[in-house]
């Protein structure tokens, strides 16, 4: 397959030594194996995520995403804009749709952007990396690159919310999306069926409402364990962080003994394609994914 090039929006959590540093590292490795070139949007800014609304309101929030898209159009013309973070993707795509549906919002966003010397045109698609894998490659093509199948490992594919709703991947159901399971199986792993694959981890409220959110996290992990999973895999940096980081707190609160690794699809693909543990950024796990480390060492 010929080289593919995308305009890339990594987002705040993927910056060096930020909470999903391992997502970016493993994405870069995965893209190397898939011959994907990611051209970072120069000087991109935060999307406002799903918690910016209270202080930021509507237009300032839409303008944040409009700035990223305007920079992308200007510096990376002719490419699709691709995000790896669920919230980055959602905010960008949402802003794009709002502007497309309202001439007033377009005028207002561009009036604000003019202050930064920018103009939004709206000529690039806003996509998630999972869409690139599923739509631009497809499972058969992805399977072709596998050198070390993830044989015998049982994964709970945790799709979560914002990669799944309100947009999701074309043709997938909101209640039972299959693409992550299919991706796991393409890499030679086993995807266990379980009932919490689209349950909310609490999102930003893991910070402000820890008790309520940790109940959500407990439900997700409990179901993964009960259905035989040894590892959770997710496409979302906040899902990853919340479900991995708070396991100690959940154990204290609910008397559980959870200790399940939570990984990214990009780490699975990197390992299955023959990448090292360092390339898959497995040292970025708080709960080590030892089964993946063993395969990477082979």
């Amino acid at each position: 397959m010929a080289k593919k090039t995308y305009s890339f929006y990594p987002g705040c959590s993927s910056q060096t030594k930020a909470s999903s540093d391992n997502y970016l590292k493993s994405t870069n490795s995965m893209c190397k194996y898939l011959d994907i070139e990611l051209k970072e949007i120069p000087d991109w800014n935060c999307c406002g995520a799903s918690i910016g609304y209270a202080e930021g309101g509507e237009l300032p929030r839409i303008t944040l995403s409009a700035r990223n898209m305007a920079l992308s159009e200007q510096h990376n013309p002719g490419m699709d804009l691709v995000a790896t973070c669920a919230a980055c993707w959602l905010s960008t795509r949402e802003a794009k749709e709002r502007i497309a549906h309202s001439a007033q919002t377009l005028t207002e966003a561009n009036t604000a952007l003019a202050e930064a010397g920018l103009t939004y045109k709206g000529n690039q698609a806003a996509r998630h990396m999972a869409e690139v894998l599923v739509e631009d490659f497809g499972f058969d093509e992805l399977k072709r690159g596998v050198k070390k199948p993830l044989q015998g490992i049982k994964f709970a594919g945790y799709v979560g919310c914002q990669t799944n709703r309100p947009f999701g991947l074309a043709g997938e159901s909101f209640e039972n999306p299959k693409y992550l399971d299919n991706l796991v199986e393409a890499m030679g792993g086993e995807a266990v069926p379980y009932d919490q694959k689209v349950t909310c981890c609490g999102g930003a409220l893991a910070f402000s409402e820890p008790e309520k959110s940790q109940k959500q996290i407990k439900d997700i992990i409990e179901s993964a364990y009960d259905h035989g999973a040894e590892m959770i895999v997710t496409p979302c940096p906040l899902c990853q962080a919340n479900v991995e980081i708070y396991q100690g707190e959940v154990n204290k609160r609910f008397g559980t003994k959870f200790n399940i690794p939570v990984t990214y699809y990009s780490q699975l693909i990197t390992v299955a394609y023959g990448g090292t543990a360092a390339e898959a950024a497995l040292d970025g796990q708080l709960i080590r994914a030892t089964r993946l480390e063993e395969i990477a060492k082979k």
Partner: protein, 199 residues
């Protein structure tokens, strides 16, 4: 002349709340309430909020902590039979309540939301360390130390996994064109305030 029959609060919501014009379309089925992960913690689930708006209960709606329970999971949006953008209406109501100074005192999600925005608005990108510390210390220094100590093992684990950098405290990530960025946000806020009559 049908305008005359609509109550003032519904009109206000349509004018000042993000996607507020959808409120009148709610058919009171309650699927949103049943779909919400934090449903049990809402004083008034979304469909009740919509009915209260239509009944003109301005004070009760805007002082409620209900909207602040939204995790932005979008379950309600994809399940609503009439496709109301419920998540955004809740965000919009929360924003209106906050802008009018009516949101409940010490509402933690409201505080976190403001901290998050102010954090990103400063440098163009979120500084996760300052955001976390800000949240720990929101109730004063002593409580902050206690909160930080309680989460110490998590923090150290993150540093060890190279997913948290203590040096972020002294600057950290940010965009280059800060002046353009600040001017842009200021202008966007001006336009929004004028349109929603906050100015």
């Amino acid at each position: 002349m049908s305008e005359n029959y609509r109550n003032n609060f519904l009109k206000e919501v349509e004018e000042r709340v993000e996607e507020g014009h959808w409120v009148k379309m709610c058919m009171q089925c309650g699927v949103c309430a049943g779909s919400c992960p934090l449903g049990p913690h809402w004083a008034h689930p979304p469909q009740e909020i919509f009915m209260m708006i239509r009944a003109g209960k301005r004070e009760e709606v805007l002082t409620s902590d209900s909207m602040w329970m939204c995790t932005s999971c979008y379950n309600c949006v994809v399940r609503c039979p009439r496709k109301l953008p419920i998540t955004h209406i809740m965000h919009g109501l929360a924003n209106l309540a906050y802008r009018l100074g009516l949101s409940p005192k010490n509402q933690t999600t409201q505080k976190f939301a403001s901290m998050f925005w102010n954090n990103l608005a400063q440098t163009g990108r979120v500084n996760e360390l300052k955001l976390s510390l800000g949240m720990y210390f929101k109730d004063g220094f002593a409580q902050g130390i206690k909160n930080a100590m309680a989460m110490q093992s998590v923090g150290l684990g993150m540093v060890k996994a190279k997913r948290l950098n203590p040096m972020e405290l002294f600057g950290g990530h940010g965009i280059k064109d800060k002046s353009g960025f600040h001017a842009m946000l200021k202008k966007a806020r001006e336009i929004e305030d004028r349109r929603k009559n906050f100015a």
